[in-house]
């Protein structure tokens, strides 16, 4: 009896009721309580006091909560009465069934969704590939057009440059323009030579050139007469029609000259002019 009193006064029963004991200690208290009615009575006393204490601190939850809680419990109660199996199992099965249904519906929907999504992606791929090929072709066309236009532009620029040089020849006051006229043998022949005594440059105008036709073994050669002696100024061919680049041909330079003449010589030119084959001559 003394032991029991000491046990009660140790305060362990209070801790038991307050829920502050380990599972082993709880079990021990419960064993003691089942053995000794005095301990059980003491526990009940403490529990009752704490129940009053809690009731004193009670707080009424909102009225709406009552129905919410009761409904959530009574829905399960309905299940319990319908199913004759043990309650716990019924509940678990019920939840499992619900989950299963939801999961199935869900997967069905998502599979459909992925099917459509895949089809849409495929269609998009085809359309965009087609559009890409189209665009690529157009780009190629544009590129070749651009190249053609650039070439044309270059040609025009070249031509303008040449014409500028040609014009300069006539504009420059230091340049002497000399008309070479035909010999009695070739009366219709004529050509123009421009000579700049300052920088010794000699140029022939290919465009206004009118010289008799010749074969491939021969070539015209320009001569300058310096103090009665012929000086070689280089060979040239008559311009082919449509050949833009050779409108003006620069010949060998010469510092002074009394006259210019052109003879037909074997291809490559001769050291001395063949006077018989002289086609044009012009004196300063």
């Amino acid at each position: 009896m003394e032991d029991i009193k000491a046990y009660i006064e140790s305060g362990i029963l209070e801790l038991y009721v307050l829920g502050d004991l380990s599972p082993e200690e709880r079990l021990q208290v419960e064993t003691m309580a089942s053995e000794y009615p005095a301990i059980m009575a003491e526990i009940t006393e403490i529990e009752t006091s704490m129940e009053f204490y809690a009731a004193e601190h009670a707080i009424e939850p909102s009225e709406a909560l009552r129905n919410k809680v009761l409904n959530s419990l009574l829905i399960n109660l309905g299940d319990d009465t319908i199913f004759t199996k043990p309650r716990k199992h019924t509940d678990e099965e019920q939840f499992e069934d619900d989950d299963h249904n939801v999961a199935q519906l869900h997967t069905g929907k998502s599979t459909n969704f992925y099917k459509y999504a895949f089809a849409a992606c495929l269609a998009l791929l085809v359309v965009s590939t087609f559009a890409l090929v189209n665009l690529y072709n157009q780009l190629q066309d544009s590129n070749s057009q651009l190249t053609a236009v650039l070439q044309q532009k270059q040609q025009f620029a070249n031509r303008v440059n040449l014409m500028d040089r040609e014009l300069d020849m006539y504009r420059d006051p230091s340049i002497k323009v000399l008309k070479l006229e035909g010999m009695p043998k070739t009366p219709s022949s004529a050509m123009t030579v421009a000579w700049n005594p300052a920088n010794k440059k000699v140029m022939v105008d290919m465009k206004s050139m009118k010289l008799p036709k010749y074969d491939k073994q021969h070539q015209y050669q320009l001569w300058a007469l310096v103090a009665g002696k012929p000086v070689d100024l280089g060979v040239f061919d008559t311009a082919n029609p449509g050949d833009d680049t050779a409108l003006i041909k620069e010949m060998k330079p010469i510092a002074s000259a009394e006259a210019f003449a052109v003879t037909l010589e074997p291809r490559g030119g001769s050291i001395n002019p063949t006077m018989d084959e002289m086609v044009v001559i012009g004196k300063l």
Partner: protein
Amino acid sequence: MSKQRKISLTEEELVLSLRNREKIAVEALYDMYSASLFGVISRIITDTAIAEDVLQETFVKIWHSFSSYSSDKGRLFTWMVNIARNLAIDKVRSKDFKNQNKNQELENNVTFIDEQRNTIYKPELLGIRDLVSTLKPEQKSILDLVYFKGYTHVEAAEELGIPLGTIKTRLRMAIQQLRKHFN
């Protein structure tokens, strides 16, 4: 305060009808204990909405695990209070709750709640109002820490900076005072 008719049963009747899964048991259970349990939960969780969620969880758990309750082990309310307190503490310790709320001091909570909501005084508890004064402040603070906040007496000792033995003695003295008062 209560407009609707409240069902009240003796504890033996209630336990029996709960065992038999009767509808009236559910209503009686709620009417008899919701306010007391909510008082405990509200001292751990100050947010009313969350506290009410926890109260609902508590009743669901009581209902589903009722087969594990045995009247041999003690009174029904003691068992239910343990469920409510544990659920409330679990909620407070859960990640999302920690993120949205910080714990407040116990004494602040009690004052805060008592100001915010009307405490219910049941007829059979008339005259209990002066109970607070029958408990010494140091007894009450320890009792509340352990009973309402779910502190172990070891944690309470650390929190209050009091030796373990003193904590145990004060707890016992406090409950003795209560018993004297209620008898």
